[in-house]
Symmetry: C2
Amino acid sequence: MDLPNDEDPLDLDRQVCFPLYAASNLLNRHYRPILAELGLTYPQYLVMLVLWKNSPQTVGSLGDMLHLDSGTLTPLLKRMEGAGLLDRTRDPEDERRVMVGLTDYGREMRQQAEQVPARLVQNLDLDEATTAALRDQVRTLVSVLNRAADAKP
Amino acid sequence: MDLPNDEDPLDLDRQVCFPLYAASNLLNRHYRPILAELGLTYPQYLVMLVLWKNSPQTVGSLGDMLHLDSGTLTPLLKRMEGAGLLDRTRDPEDERRVMVGLTDYGREMRQQAEQVPARLVQNLDLDEATTAALRDQVRTLVSVLNRAADAKP
DNA sequence: ACTTTTTATATTGTGTACAATATAATGGCG
DNA sequence: CGCCATTATATTGTACACAATATAAAAAGT
């Protein structure tokens, strides 16, 4: 009844999606202890990366950058506000919008965070070429996924 | 104060990890409506893929395949048992182990599931070459992540 | 100006992930 | 045999993700 693996469309090894899922979980697990020293989770770290580039900005633009919606971001940002990393204030220009901006503490954390990428790569013993090639491939996939998402609804 | 993007180690676009994270979330989102017709979530679908290859097997071997621990699997498997997809029984040979096996309903679902990969690829309009290249890259990363995980603790 | 529609967040409910811890059964080892 | 470390799963507590829905402000239409 079982097909040989290279013909079975349901073979785990034939799916792009499974390695991607596994890689994402495993990477998160590698980040966790490093980011825990800063008191951050991985999604929180991503929010900080975006804000260190440009603060303040709206919840919506954060969501566009990170491909997350308010259902994920609102509680996450509230926890970060509670931790003193950022402020959330309604935009007086447009009361629907919430501006998210770094606090002094949030800005200062950037110093520490600069060591994070190096520490991760060191832990994983990844070479630069592999990393760069992979990054480009995955980025291509992300744009495909976004195109498909835009086309449908 | 801002560095140009190609020198800033904290630039979002320079991280492998972020596109991987985004791709994993986006893929999950694409799978969701397709799998919802079968009453499955994506991790539940992965469990079914493993069981269709080999049923029954222990919680531990499922976890090894999917890189998930009992904290994730136990409640997930209980929900799947509740949905009538599988059975969970203590192994009489070793009462610590729980054998997870497909029910008739679970086995029959395989027919429907065979259309899932094709429907996904069709939705995304991905070509075979890109998919294969990406899959190999990500698989390489997964093995690196596992090596690093084994080396540490 | 008033109504309708759209837009920006927030809330609710379900389902993962995972660290830390608990529990119970096996397998040594003296 | 009895004790102890190990192993296999379960539980607890925290933090995402996201669909569906709710809320309220702004924009558009009449």
